[in-house]
């Protein structure tokens, strides 16, 4: 995965991405125990000049670098990467406040655990709620920060429902 992260860092240096951070199940690896996944979710800001954005320059740069496009993924050094442009205020905040980390000798960024939990709640798929309940029961998170995030993004009720389902 380190080679994959180096490519992402290069994309940022080239200005193809403005900022990226690891999200999804792979971000959990930095905060708690491993969970299975088959793709690497990368939340990103794309340079824009108006209300519409395009992933074409990103995909062109990756294709020029010899990476393969496969459905919604780009396979970078054997890892299928899913680029997700920051699509709402919660994700924008999560990406803006993502943490600097290293993997091996390569710097990268990872979403904070509190934002990961909030995004799982907001996404709202059964597997995300299940994972949020599991992670919140076992991983160390800052409850005050989490409650603040949930409150500002209208997710407090959802949180209460998954914490006390009955």
């Amino acid at each position: 995965m380190e080679s994959t992260l180096k490519v992402l860092n290069d994309l940022e240096t080239q200005g193809v991405l403005t900022r990226y951070a690891i999200g999804g199940a792979m971000a959990l690896l930095f905060h708690t125990e491993p969970v299975a996944t088959f793709d690497l979710n990368i939340f990103c800001f794309i340079p824009e000049s108006g209300p519409l954005i395009t992933l074409a320059p990103l995909y062109d740069a990756l294709k020029a670098g010899g990476h393969t496009i496969d459905a919604e993924h780009v396979v970078i050094a054997g890892v299928p990467v899913q680029f997700i442009p920051a699509y709402n205020p919660l994700v924008i905040e999560a990406l803006s406040e993502s943490q600097e980390r290293t993997f091996g000798e390569t710097p990268t960024r990872v979403l904070r655990l509190e934002h990961l939990l909030a995004i799982m709640l907001q996404t709202g798929r059964p597997k995300d709620w299940q994972r949020a309940a599991m992670v919140s029961a076992s991983a160390p998170f800052d409850e005050i920060q989490l409650l603040d995030i949930l409150n500002r993004h209208g997710l407090t009720e959802t949180w209460n429902r998954i914490r006390s389902p009955h």
Binding site: M1, L29, E33, P34, G78, V79, R101, F103
Partner: protein, 70 residues
């Protein structure tokens, strides 16, 4: 291999035995979570391969696993 604390519980109620199992699982989970991310990644790769094997055995289409070496 760490000693199995259950082996010393020769006489116990079902609740005590269950509690010992859960305690041991939680300890193992916490030790795993506390490892450096690079070590956890090696566990992740093993986990991914186990999931892929199970999916294939069940005839479920499975995405490719990630390379062990960069």
């Amino acid at each position: 291999m760490e000693p199995n604390p259950l082996a010393t519980l020769t006489v116990a109620t079902p609740a005590e035995l269950a509690a010992a199992v859960f305690r041991q699982k939680e300890q193992r989970r916490q030790s795993l979570a506390a490892l450096p991310v690079e070590e956890k990644y090696q566990h992740f790769l093993q986990l991914q391969r186990m999931v892929a094997e199970t999916m294939r055995a069940a005839g479920i289409p499975c995405p490719a696993v990630w390379p062990v070496r960069d």
